[in-house]
Subunit: 565 residues, 2 copies
Amino acid sequence: MSIVLRVNTTTKEIIREELKEEYRFLGGRSLIARVLTDEVDPTCDPLGAENKLILCTTLLAGTTLPMAHRLSAGGKSPLTGGIKEANSGGTAASLLARHGIKMIILEGLPQTNDWYILHIQKDGSSQLVDATDYVGLNNYDLAAKIQERFGKNVGIISIGLAGERGYRNSTLQLIDASTGYPSRAAARGGLGAVMGAKKIKAVVIERAANPYEFPYADKERYEAVRKKYIQRVLSSPRTESMQKVGTMSMIDFTSTVAALPVRNFSGQFFEQAEAIKSKAFVERAFIGGGRNKEGCQPGCIVRCSNRFHTKDGEYLTSGLEYETVALCGANCGIADFDVIARLDRMCDDLGVDTIETGATIAVCMEAGKISFGDGEGAIALLQEMIDGTEFGRLLGQGTEAVGKALGVKRIPTVKGQALPAYDPRSIKGLGVTYATSAMGADHTAGMTLGPGIDPSKKDFQVERSRQSQMVAAVTDSFTCSFGWGELNNEEILPEIMASLYGGEWTYGQIMNIGKETLKLERAFNQAAGLTEVDDCLPAFFYNEISAIDTVFDISAEEMQELFNY
Amino acid sequence: MSIVLRVNTTTKEIIREELKEEYRFLGGRSLIARVLTDEVDPTCDPLGAENKLILCTTLLAGTTLPMAHRLSAGGKSPLTGGIKEANSGGTAASLLARHGIKMIILEGLPQTNDWYILHIQKDGSSQLVDATDYVGLNNYDLAAKIQERFGKNVGIISIGLAGERGYRNSTLQLIDASTGYPSRAAARGGLGAVMGAKKIKAVVIERAANPYEFPYADKERYEAVRKKYIQRVLSSPRTESMQKVGTMSMIDFTSTVAALPVRNFSGQFFEQAEAIKSKAFVERAFIGGGRNKEGCQPGCIVRCSNRFHTKDGEYLTSGLEYETVALCGANCGIADFDVIARLDRMCDDLGVDTIETGATIAVCMEAGKISFGDGEGAIALLQEMIDGTEFGRLLGQGTEAVGKALGVKRIPTVKGQALPAYDPRSIKGLGVTYATSAMGADHTAGMTLGPGIDPSKKDFQVERSRQSQMVAAVTDSFTCSFGWGELNNEEILPEIMASLYGGEWTYGQIMNIGKETLKLERAFNQAAGLTEVDDCLPAFFYNEISAIDTVFDISAEEMQELFNY
């Protein structure tokens, strides 16, 4: 796991390098923070030649540990103007690891209008392949055409029209291991537009003929801890719930405490919540041949994903997740899974983030462009994004741009990125995470729900968010977050590191990787021109009382305490 | 000149205060910097309750000095997100001074949808008058209706639909002394939207029955220096040129050195320049009854303004200025005064900045929305702004918002505000001013043309800009800039201050007011979240070579030297 491919999109040169020794214990988010710090001017234009798109695997990828193969994408975000790491499941990380490739860096900017595919062949060699025939395709057609030419089982990291057109809300899509469709996304922060600016339509990874073997420092010790870890995962009630329902299990809680965003973060309860709660979800999900217990990456044993079919039995989308149901559903006043799943499919196909898109549509509803609850209207807006009408292109610029253009006052964003599906008046620790994370509003950057703290009270939320953000930075450096609950303890995690890399590791040492990552990310943002003023929630969360009689009441000064790591 | 009217738009209470002693030697821009620093949270929402709209007169207003009555408007800018002072001629400052009113502060935010006019009566008392009948009017109809009710000679500070709708490119319009039309504007930075948010449609000032007398410290001494000043102004070649041609005299120079912006700051020469140079301007200006040598404020002896009629003899606009001809003309590839004057009239009527609007239209042309040179297309876009179509409302948000929404890469803005009519590759000192002024790109913030320095070379431009910015901050605190050339010297200026206020003044002391103002403004912006990253020109000025073979080559680091005051 030490190969770096450096692709100069100006000269078309591909250089194969050894991973620097000081990057050895980094992966995913921590590696991206370091490389961006070392190589990218924080003041650069995110869509210019100076920005880089980094694709790298998590630190534990390449081992036989389940859930270890996660792909991180990074660069300066066109959406937030700050540092960005977005990660995804799918098959790409595992396939890259089989080549021993840890990282791909896309650099420069083409002088011509020609598009390319970066093709990594069976033998590990790589080349830029003319992509003229692929330009203009959205992800589903694109993946089918790529699979037709390069084989059914290639890994793909691709952009749809959104990335081609520079939508600041564009994703990188990856192939889901269970379905073979491009339904997994490194979704947040518009990194699809960074790849699009470099005119790389896709990275295609063939399965390595001679797979790379991870150089376990102590294989026996590793096997023992791996076994222990697997047992814990399989016997965890968390895993059971993830297999039965998946991330959608969250909705029963959030809808009860007014944390589920409803009609552009109105703070109100959703009258139609029953229609989209987990019971209804599971019932609908099995109609037409839908399935749960799907793993998005090879070898996954949590298998929290699902495939969602039309009632007529046709595949529609895979991994219909809580965030999508919340933002494209309740937050738009929509309570119909068939509409929401269709929106999800359209987002994946075009290559836009479902969180940002749902928030954007809700802001259009707030502006009176269409009504809350108007599912067909929402689909029509997404169709405009696909068609690239003038208004559709504006929608692609994200919630803040649209809110400002339409003169909407309640714009639910931090650092220009839309809030995920937890109202910060109900779950205040997440409000702190949204406000202070270098990523912009991001629930994965520091989930604060957990024992001991009332999420609707302000007490201890800053401390909880600080701790969670540190852990999240480690999680996103190591593995998928859905096996992390059983990995993240003093017994398993240091033992895994020791058996993989040798030496002895303490839990604190590992957490330190997270802390250092947070510091680098914040320094990058400061150098990019972000300040304390960007570490705030929109005013309406402070002013408008929620259905559980709360406002967000942690002041900007109190939140600045978070940075005393 | 010591009365402050504090108008609470939430409670409708009007409080009459004495000007604080420490504000005594401040006026216009310097007073605004102090009051905003003292009273407004820099992180506030520019269109929210915490922002204030400050209207105040220059320091020399209320005296018998010609060109002394300038009105400054200030607040946190909805366009730049930073501090903003925009000033204007017209009759309002002189009429306020006759009441002894130095400053009006509009505070709070109404809870209802009712609009008001702030009415200052003959006897000096003031009240909020129901404005239901005036809402929805643009400035020309509005002024006519106000004049009909309150008398022909009232001063008016008003907003059109742009300010009502919260366009971030909206102005405050003032009545031109010569024509009686609302053709003067405190144009930059969207302060019209701040007044609109407070639901004040206009400030109407009747002529004071018992005019305030300025308490000259030494009237005899004052009369002597006043006489000397007037003689200098009248015998200055600058004044002659201003009377003959006005600000349009600039175009012969800028079009020759590729400083005139052409087709969205392409850096190229304008093939049709002859059609809009000063000779052509003067020829056209006199057709149909047009006139030069107009004074926009009572008692002006420079009289740089003009009135522009249609060829059929109908009044069209007044003060057709160089900036408007450059931005709405050459920068859009338009070389027809009849089209440009019509655009100017539409801008004044709607209440939007002609610089920002011209830059916005050019960005639409760059995006292919209409073609460069398409005058009727430009008028149609402005009509969309007036009609409030969805795209029109987007246009009202300014050049940067439109550029981003349309995916344009060459967006000529600094701190979100469009560049005025001097290409920074040709006049590099102005590039420094654009980049570093707290106001955003603003030529009045520090004009650097002058003897001794080649404007197309980088040498000494930072020093020149620093000096000019300091002087400009004084100018905008004291008087109109067009008499300033004869005022700004060690002989006249300290003598005026001493005779007005007593004591002895040095030139350095006066310049210090400018320096302190710049420091306050910068501190406000820093607290608002702006950083060094906001002190840059768009990259294309560094990368694209101009017709005189220059690029802007003063680095961000070099420009930061400017702040070593």
